[in-house]
Amino acid sequence: MTASSASDAASSRPPRVGLFVTCLVDTIRPSVGFAAVKLLEDAGCDVDVPRQTCCGQPAFNSGDRVTTRALAEKTIAAFESFDYVVAPSGSCAGMIKTHYPELFVGEPDWSGRVERFCAKVFELTSFLVDVLGVTRVEARYDGTVTYHDSCSGLRELQVKAQPRQLLASVEGLALTELADSDTCCGFGGTFCVKYPMVSDAIVGKKADNILASGADTLLAGDLGCLMNMAGKLQRQGRDVAVRHVAEVLAGMGDGPAIGAPAPAKKG
Amino acid sequence: MTSTPSSRDTVLASVRRALGVTSREAPRRQEVEARLASHPAGVIPARAQLPPAERLELFKAMALGAASSLDHLASAAEVPGAIAAYLSTRDLPLKLLRGADPRLAALPWSSAPQIDVWIGPSDGRQPVGLSHAFAGIAESGTLVLFSGADNPTTLNFLPDHHLVVLEAKDVVADYETAWARVRAQFPDGQLPRAINMITGPSRSADIEQTLLLGAHGPRSLHVLLVGAPS
């Protein structure tokens, strides 16, 4: 594979990628972060994880511009020395890439810097396919999977073909399409807390479609959506494993699925 | 009654305040005048940009697709006979109401003496109305009709069955071409009271979103297409 951006064409060193791990992966499911690191390293990147908190999306979507702006400045400062910034989430990458510029409108000191920064930010699968030109991964997953297109990745970053293309190269994996795969799962960040009954109705329809797909595994690229769908399926007692797409692509799909019990501790 | 000057002025002043303008800016006025004078066409779908014969075929296909029915006749002389056939195959009374339009008056009604032809606007009691279209639009199978002294609008809406004579030479590709013809016909800019664009018979989907034909307007729309494209 080749790193095809102009900034890298000049040098032959591997691209330096800052992993924006996202709050949810950091706290709830670190294994997704390690899967992302593996995929990036396998693709020839030099990965590091600078100290970070949150991209600011919860504040942004709650109308708190001051906090959003402060977190954006911190994120930019932490990551701008990297060639690329990659997140295993369309939602967080979309927040940075499409919304950070709005926060700095009319500030000449910032706007150029923010623009350069945002140009380096990518969702994981889109970075692998669109930037690095990765066409296949070395992984095996025995199962029938279906894929939910998380809204921000799909609509803000046009992530749709990339995960499917990579999944097609996973040995043993059969992909079956999900009806209405591009409809919201009802997570919506703070929405699911503020209007839980509406959120539940939406994820209920999603669960019906997932079951109807006949898949034994549900994949997506955003942990928030995955937790929502996993939580619903588990409450219904359904036997569908729910995983982040990175876990499967990295060949790390053999650990406990989201919300499944951890294996008994050894020794 | 007209609007009190104050409300008119209040609204316009409020618009201007929000826009940060005074209305006396010459460039703004020029831009508006230029747009009105040039009335740019915008994006016109390629769909109907076809040679005349294919354009006519597209019109027919689109009209049928919108649930209109259609007879393509070689000449106007065939219209009365085709109407008689249409009415009798549908068990309708051999009676119709039409406007005084000279193009309809000139049809050889004596060739179908069984049809009882009345002239005037509809009061809702006549099952069949006959009109003459100004144009047909191939892009969507739409008929364009004008109101006027000889063309009562009620004929388009009150009868259960609406029959419309359309000359093939008047089938144009798109709405924009139709408007160019309208502008040519009314150079002073004073349009007829109503310009009706009609695409198929009346319908409603308001009960469980199931499409049903024959809501308030005609239950059937029949096009009598006459002649060859120009």
Partner: protein, 483 residues
């Protein structure tokens, strides 16, 4: 009927809507149809996206010159023998319309579907003046006889099923034989047609909305599939067009750019059945048509929107695509929104019209999935405008206290990474310890809304960042998660 505001009770409304099996069945039946029909229609028009850009630009141009186009429109209507009335607010519009009706000694007024007429609550006002308003759009007629308000801007009775309509017709049409057969929907349609035909012919005044106003010619463009707007405007003594000021476009050609995206976005038709350019009263020699032609131009807060972020909302052509594609609307239906305009467009407009203090629920009740913006034919960035309202709410300290404090605490932590990382680490390790066996929680403090219906996954253990640093310190790479 004029709509009582229940937007502040959105949660309650939504809960009731979710528990209403009949409504849920109606929504499940109608929703996918709209989505599919739109998709099929635009698939057949490769220029659709270019037309969207074109209409967006036309609307932006018109709004930027709205004062001049309003003046031109007024002049042209006058030239054609019609009258133009500007109304600053709903009350003034009601007075103007009622005044015209009273001058003509009107007893009944036929109406074709108009959301602006719902906005100003004209029906109650007319009734109070002893004038009977008769809704003639089939869906509007059904909800009028039920004493309801529309639940969708183009499909007002979308929340009802056929059996309900049948029951209402039997209740109201008492002059018809009680044993008549109304099993088929066509029988219901035929019955409504018969009832309303008499009303059309008897009406003294016809009141319509307008989908577009054309400045160049002074035309009001009115679109229907039923033909009811044409009977409404053609038969009575006077035709009153009630339209809001942002309905203007400059020219006839511009109108068709808009019409090409309107029907496709709304119902998946290439063109609605009846598109009528109404250009004034009956001419001297015309055998039919209204003797008077009035246009009531309503502002009602719109001019104020022109100057700010919400300006983009004024491009809206009321196609309904945003609600047809909205997961929230599709779950709770239109009445839950608690005022005239539902769905994403309503969630932007309603706070502007009834106040953010009363309308705050609506911009919050969105997942920001972005599907509305994706389908909007005039490219209104609806999520951005909803976020604008959340910002207003936050900045004016209207956000409910628990959310506000929660957000404050989180913001404090997130802005202070030296505190955030150890705090999240501690919390996750504790949660993991409790949840590890099951892998998830069936209930959780502070997340009761979630865990009432969904499990919550237990964290794996230490945070990613802590594990990463430990590995880096140990010189091991990052190939696999902690054992």
């Amino acid at each position: 009927m004029s709509v009582a505001i229940t937007s502040p009770e959105f949660k309650q409304n939504a809960t009731e809507a979710l528990a209403d099996p009949q409504l849920q069945a109606a929504l499940a039946k109608a929703g996918p149809g709209f989505v599919g029909k739109r998709r099929d229609a635009i698939a057949k028009l490769p220029e659709f996206d270019a037309l969207r850009d074109s209409v967006r630009d036309i609307k932006n141009h018109t709004l930027a010159h709205l004062d001049l186009y309003l003046e031109r429109f007024e002049e042209k209507v006058r030239e054609a023998g019609g009258q133009v009335h500007f109304a600053v607010d709903a009350a003034e519009a009601r007075e103007i319309i009622t005044g015209i009706c009273q001058r003509l000694d009107a007893r009944t007024v036929t109406k074709s579907k108009s959301m602006v007429s719902e906005e100003i609550g004209i029906n109650d006002h007319l009734a109070a003046a002893g004038i009977t308003p008769v809704e003639t759009d089939l869906g509007e007629y059904i909800i009028q006889i039920r004493g309801e308000s529309p639940s969708h801007i183009i499909a007002p009775a979308i929340h009802l099923n056929k059996d309900q309509v049948e029951a209402d017709f039997r209740r109201v049409h008492t002059d018809l034989p009680a044993d008549r057969d109304l099993v088929e929907p066509t029988a219901l349609l035929a019955e409504a047609r018969g009832e309303l035909r008499q009303r059309f012919l008897a009406a003294d005044v016809g009141l319509t909305g307008a989908n577009v106003l054309v400045a160049e010619t002074g035309a009001a463009v009115i679109v229907t599939n039923e033909g009811n707007a044409d009977l409404t405007q053609t038969l009575p003594k006077a035709h009153i067009v009630l339209a809001s000021i942002e309905k203007l476009v400059p020219t006839l050609e511009d109108a068709h750019q808009l019409l090409r995206v309107l029907a496709r976005s709304a119902s998946g038709q290439d063109m609605s059945v009846y598109t009528t350019f109404a250009c004034g009263p009956r001419r001297a020699l015309d055998p039919d048509g209204p003797g008077e032609f009035h246009v009531v131009l309503l502002d009602n807060g719109r001019s104020a929107m022109l100057g700010g972020t919400l300006k983009e909302m004024l491009r809206c052509i009321r196609c309904g695509a945003c609600m047809n594609h909205c997961p929230v609307y599709q779950s709770v239906g239109g009445h839950a929104y608690g005022w005239v305009y539902p769905g994403p467009m309503g969630s932007v407009l309603t706070p502007a019209m009834i106040g953010i203090d009363k309308g705050a629920n609506l911009p919050n009740a969105s997942t920001f999935c972005g599907r509305c913006e994706e389908v909007c034919p005039v490219r209104i960035p609806l999520p951005k405008l909803l976020r604008h309202w959340r910002q207003q709410e936050f900045e004016r300290h209207l956000t409910p206290a628990p959310q506000r404090y929660g957000l404050k605490l989180w913001a404090f932590l997130a802005r202070n990474g030296w505190l955030y990382r150890p705090a999240t680490r501690l919390a996750m390790r504790a949660l993991s310890l409790f949840g590890r066996d099951k892998g998830r929680f069936a209930s959780m403090p502070l997340a009761g809304g979630w865990t009432a219906t969904r499990d919550f996954p237990a964290p794996e253990g230490d945070t990613f960042q802590a594990q990463w640093r430990a590995r880096k310190a140990a010189g091991t790479t990052s190939r696999s998660p902690a054992p």
